[in-house]
């Protein structure tokens, strides 16, 4: 494991407003960190400080060992950054834009040509290389921004809402691209689209009110849900009350809730344990016919709400 990004006690105040207030975390090579939080939580501000665009009020950021305050150029050389909204020079074509980026990144000759070509292919913008960027659709603009970020094959990628405003196919393509690159880079992706937690990330940091509320794997995030390991069960030809009473009486069951949509029940386990196998065994032993049975992993939207709203 190689430490690529180290953030310690990072803070940014805009006057009285504490946009970011003491954020610390680090990212290793091979990690795709999903940076979650509601709008205005401080995600973009944190990313702007990592990339050296905003100076922090306090705290330190190190990228590949370089401090962003003392050696910003080295930090910037080691990262690829897709700012929010994927700004670019609207009157340029993707071809001339990417060549400009390659020039600034110090690529010349055959290397430059190869880098532009490969970035355009990976971001799937080869068909629009000679149209002015201002005439491109939102999806293409976003991918031009992505091509710009990955052009020099940086060890660290910072992507601010890379799939925002894309249609499902485009989202899928961008996620595939990020997954392809994940193994040898450290990547931070900000998003408020929770399905991306599973599609992309192997780690999550959730911030709200400028502070880290959670840091762990997607699985750990899910297990904070009260639905984690809950089992939905429906039995055939049973009298609902009798079945409910039976479920409630089981020692590993904490709570039973009737499902409105089906003739079933959601069974919450005691102490969050996995009870699927045990439950199905007990139910069948007692002569009930199981119609359907499935375990829930937990609901991210519910965890998200809990972690981001109960602080006031």
């Amino acid at each position: 494991m190689t430490l690529r990004i180290e953030i310690e006690d990072l803070a940014k105040y805009f006057g009285e407003i504490k946009a970011v207030d003491g954020v610390s975390f680090s990212v290793n090579k091979g990690e795709v960190l999903g940076f979650l939080g509601p709008n205005g939580a401080g995600k973009s501000t944190t990313m702007k400080m990592i990339t050296g665009f905003l100076a922090p009020t306090r705290g330190t950021v190190r990228v590949c060992g370089h401090d962003v305050l003392t050696d910003p150029i080295a930090v910037k050389a080691n990262l690829g950054y897709l700012p929010e909204g994927a700004p670019a020079y609207a009157d340029m074509t993707p071809d001339s834009f990417l060549k400009f980026i390659a020039d600034i990144r110090g690529l010349t000759g055959a290397d430059k040509k190869r880098a532009v070509q490969s970035a355009a292919e990976r971001a799937r913008i080869t068909q629009v290389m000679f149209q002015p960027i201002e005439t491109l659709s939102k999806g293409y603009k976003r991918r031009v921004g992505l091509a710009q970020a990955i052009l020099h094959n940086p060890p660290v990628l910072i992507l601010d809402e890379p799939t925002d405003g894309l249609d499902p196919n485009q989202k899928h393509e961008v996620r595939t691209l990020i997954n392809e690159m994940a193994h040898d880079k450290a990547i931070i992706i900000s998003t408020h689209i929770l399905e991306e937690v599973h599609a992309l990330c192997n780690r999550n940091v959730l911030i709200a009110n400028g502070q880290v509320q959670f840091d762990g794997t997607p699985h750990e995030l899910e297990s904070m849900s009260r639905y984690h390991n809950a089992v939905c069960i429906a039995a055939a030809d049973v009298e609902a009350n009798a079945f409910s009473t039976f479920l409630n009486a089981l020692e590993f069951v904490a709570e039973v809730e009737a499902l409105s949509s089906e003739r079933g029940f959601r069974v919450y386990p005691a102490e969050g344990k996995q009870i699927t196998a045990e439950l199905s065994q007990v139910v069948r032993d007692n002569g009930w016919q199981i119609d359907s049975l499935y375990a829930e992993h937990g609901r991210l939207d519910e965890v998200f709400r809990t972690l981001t709203t109960n602080k006031s």
């Binding site: 020079y89 600034i104 990144r105």
Partner: protein, 246 residues
């Protein structure tokens, strides 16, 4: 300072002028105004002298009006469409970006100035002018244009609105020109001490440009424009450093 970065930024910015019709419109208007002011305001023919003084003497006034149109987009546009965040997170220093952009605008102005060469041909056809004087005039005009551009670039860095950038640059440029103009100095001469009047007029573009446009190369005039450019570019870098984001 990485010279390559300055060159790449300059190249991109320079090409940016030609990505839209703005460059062509500007050059045509500039050439028309130069011709008009030379022949009608400057009485090129009536003077009966083989020089380009009527041409150069109008440049301060043309620049006050036209240079802000070149400089207004330099930083305002970057702020407006957010590309400043892209530029400032590339491995370039603020001063490289400031210098690259300024040099692009200066090169563009130089191009527009050189396109006045038919005037030079005309005066050589009609008489035998001192081409050394004319060359000095071009050089002085270019230096002065650099001064106006540095002012405009710095002001452009303070706002995302190109119209505000244009108007403010025009006003500041006008102040720098007018401080050497007779009427303004007369206003002060009735009551202010001589040293103050000298100080005011020594800040004027007119005072320093007049000698150069007549072919007199005084190092002090050159230094004035060069240091003026450097001060405003330095201020430009400070403005960008202080507030990149908003």
């Amino acid at each position: 300072m990485n010279m390559n970065n300055i060159w790449f930024i300059m190249k991109r910015e320079f090409n940016g002028y030609f990505a839209t019709p703005v460059a062509y419109v500007f050059i045509i208007i500039f050439l028309l105004l130069c011709g008009f002011s030379t022949f009608f305001v400057g009485n090129f023919f009536e003077r009966g002298e083989a020089d380009l003084y009527p041409f150069f003497s109008m440049h301060p006034w043309l620049y006050v009006l036209l240079i802000p149109a070149i400089s207004m987009r330099l930083w305002s546009e970057e702020r407006k469409n957010g590309s400043i965040e892209l530029l400032m997170t590339l491995p370039v220093s603020v001063f490289e970006a400031v210098l690259g952009k300024f040099l692009a605008a200066w090169a563009f102005t130089g191009l527009a100035l050189i396109l006045n060469f038919p005037l030079w041909i005309t005066v050589n056809y009609l008489g035998s002018p001192d081409n050394g004087v004319i060359f000095t005039g071009f050089l002085g005009s270019l230096l002065m244009a650099g001064g106006f551009l540095a002012i405009g670039a710095c002001i452009s860095a303070t706002t995302k609105n190109q119209v505000i950038s244009f108007v403010l640059s025009l006003i500041v440029s006008l102040i720098f020109v007018l401080s050497g103009y007779g009427i303004v100095l007369d206003f002060f001469s009735s009551w202010a001490p001589l040293t103050l009047i000298d100080a005011i007029s020594s800040f004027s573009f007119l005072t320093h440009f007049d000698a150069i446009s007549k072919g007199v190369i005084d190092m002090r005039d050159m230094l004035y424009f060069i240091s003026l450019i450097m001060v405003w570019l330095f201020a430009n870098a400070i403005v960008i450093n202080a507030r990149k984001a908003d």
